[in-house]
C-alpha cells in the first residue's frame, strides 16, 4: 500500500538551516548536511532543502550544501530557492538533487516547468505554491511570500500540473511556523483539483495535525520543519502515532 510521506524541510539561509514564524524571525537550526542525514536516520521519507534568501551570491553556498547533503542521503532529496532557468535546475541536479522546487520563476514563465520536465522528467519538478487566505479566497504570493500575485491557488496548481509539474508543494502562509495545524481547507481544495500528488506545508505542530491533513485535507505528503529541528517531536515518534491511528506510513523503516 502506498504510504503517506513525512517530509522534513530545511530552510537554508547563508549556508545554515534556519526557521522563522510566518516567514520572519529566523532562528539558527544547524548545518544542512548534518540536519538532512539526521532526519533521514530518524525516518523522514524525503528531505527538502529550500534556500529561502536565494541570491546569486548564495548559489555556490547552496550547491555546496546540496553536494555535501546528497553524498550519504539515500532518500529522495528536493532542492529549491533561486532556480530561475533550466541551467540553474541542471546545476542543482548535478550537485545531487533528485527533484527541484520552483516557485516565482514558474509563475513568471510557466513554460519553464515543461522545459525542466522534458529534460529531467516530470517526477523531478515540484511546483511550490505559497498561498494565503485573503477575504475567503486563496491567493498566491511570490518572492518568498512578499509579493501578492492576484492569482488563485487552485487555478494556478491546475495550470502547473498541466504544464508538466510532478508534484505540488503547497504552503499555507497563514499557518507557516505557527504549529497551529495545517490549512486542511486549502490542501483539500487543491488536492481534489489536481491529479498529481500534493504536499501540505505550513502549520505542523502535533501528530494530530498530520492525521487531520491526511484524512480531511487529502494530502499525499506532509512537510514540516520547525517541529523536527528543536526536538518538539521526532519523526519516529510521529510515525508511530500515525501508524497507531491507521494512517499508512513507512513504519518501521
Amino acid at each position: 500500500m502506498l504510504t503517506k510521506r513525512i517530509i522534513a524541510c530545511l530552510d537554508m539561509d547563508g549556508g545554515r538551516v534556519v526557521k522563522g514564524v510566518r516567514f520572519k524571525n529566523l532562528r539558527d537550526a544547524g548545518d544542512p548536511a548534518e540536519c538532512a542525514g539526521a532526519h533521514a536516520r530518524d525516518g523522514a521519507d524525503e528531505i527538502v532543502l529550500l534556500d529561502i534568501t536565494a541570491t546569486s551570491g548564495n548559489r555556490r553556498t547552496l550547491l555546496d550544501a546540496v553536494r555535501r547533503a546528497a553524498r550519504s542521503l539515500f532518500v529522495p532529496f528536493t532542492v529549491g530557492g533561486g532556480i530561475r532557468q533550466l541551467a540553474d535546475a541542471a546545476a542543482v541536479f548535478d550537485a545531487g538533487a533528485d527533484k527541484i522546487a520552483i516557485n516565482s520563476a514558474a509563475m513568471r514563465d510557466p513554460a519553464l516547468i515543461g522545459r525542466i520536465a522534458l529534460r529531467f522528467g516530470s517526477q523531478a519538478v515540484v511546483v511550490a505554491i505559497d498561498a494565503r487566505n485573503v477575504n475567503g479566497r486563496f491567493e498566491v504570493f511570490a518572492a518568498g511570500g512578499r509579493e501578492p500575485t492576484g492569482r488563485e491557488a487552485i487555478q494556478w496548481a491546475s495550470e502547473a500540473a498541466a504544464c508538466g509539474a510532478g508534484e505540488i508543494l503547497l504552503t499555507s502562509m497563514d499557518r507557516d511556523g505557527t504549529q497551529s495545524g495545517f490549512d486542511c481547507q486549502l490542501v483539500r481544495a487543491v488536492s481534489e483539483a489536481v491529479s498529481i500528488p500534493v504536499i501540505a506545508s505550513g502549520g505542523a505542530g502535533s501528530a494530530h495535525d498530520f492525521i487531520e491533513v491526511f484524512r480531511d485535507g487529502r494530502a499525499d505528503a506532509a512537510l514540516a520543519a520547525s517541529i523536527f529541528h528543536f526536538g518538539i517531536e521526532n519523526i519516529a515518534q510521529l510515525k508511530r502515532e500515525l501508524h497507531d491511528a491507521s494512517v499508512p506510513v513507512r513504519w518501521p523503516c
Partner: protein
C-alpha cells in the same frame, strides 16, 4: 566492473553514488565497448519511454542484449526495467528488449499519477535480488506506467492494481522502484545484485 549505462535519461549520479557507498566498482559509460566488457550492467533511467530510443541509435541496445544473453548480470531500474518488456503504451513506436513478455501500461484513472512515494513489496520466495528483504519492506517509487505481473515477478506492489515491483529471470533483474532512493532496503538490494 559494473557499467552504469548513460543514454541521456535521468540522473545517473544518485545511482552511481549508491554503488560507491556500498563499495562497488562502477563506471558510468555511454560506450557500447565498455558495456560489452563489463561484468555486470545497470540500466537506470527516469522519464519518458521514448528516451530509450537512444539505446537503438547508439549501438547500446545490441551491446546490452549480447551481454545479458551471455549471462552477465543485468539490473534495470525504473525505465530500465520497463525496457526488458516488449514496449510501453507511453510510446508505442519504441520497442523494448522483449526479454520479458507483456507491455507496460498507464495506471487506471482511479488513482493519482504519477505513483509517487514509499510502497510495500510482496516478495516472492527464492528471489536472489531480494534475498534477505523482509516481506512488506518499503521502497520508493515514482512512475506513471507499470509492468504487468508475470511468472518473472519477484515482488509485487499495489496501486489501483497489482503490478510488478521487481522482476527476475536467471541473471536478468529489474526493479520499478528506485533502490538508490529506498534507504537501507534499497542499498541491500544493490548489494545483492553486486554479489550475484
Amino acid at each position: 566492473m559494473i557499467a552504469i549505462v548513460n543514454y541521456g535519461a535521468g540522473n545517473l549520479n544518485s545511482v552511481k553514488k549508491a554503488f560507491d557507498y556500498i563499495g562497488a566498482d562502477v563506471a558510468v559509460t555511454a560506450q557500447p565497448e565498455t558495456v560489452a566488457s563489463a561484468d555486470k550492467i545497470v540500466l537506470p533511467g527516469v522519464g519518458h519511454f521514448s528516451s530509450l530510443q537512444a539505446l537503438d541509435r547508439t549501438g547500446l541496445r545490441e551491446a546490452l542484449l549480447q551481454s545479458a544473453s551471455a549471462g552477465n548480470p543485468f539490473l534495470g531500474i525504473c525505465l530500465g526495467m520497463q525496457w526488458l518488456f516488449e514496449g510501453s503504451e507511453e510510446c508505442i513506436e519504441v520497442a523494448g528488449a522483449s526479454i520479458l513478455p507483456g507491455k507496460c501500461r498507464h495506471f487506471p484513472s482511479s488513482v493519482k499519477t504519477p505513483h509517487v512515494g514509499w510502497n510495500s513489496l510482496a516478495v516472492q520466495e527464492g528471489s536472489r535480488l531480494l534475498r534477505g528483504i523482509a516481506q512488506d519492506s518499503f521502497v520508493y517509487y515514482t512512475h506513471s506506467f507499470y509492468a504487468p505481473i508475470a511468472t518473472e515477478t519477484a515482488a509485487a506492489s499495489e496501486y489501483g492494481l497489482r503490478f510488478a515491483g521487481a522482476v527476475e529471470r536467471d541473471t536478468i533483474f529489474g526493479v520499478q522502484f528506485h533502490p538508490e532512493k529506498s534507504g537501507d532496503v534499497g542499498l541491500s538490494i544493490l548489494k545483492n545484485f553486486c554479489e550475484v
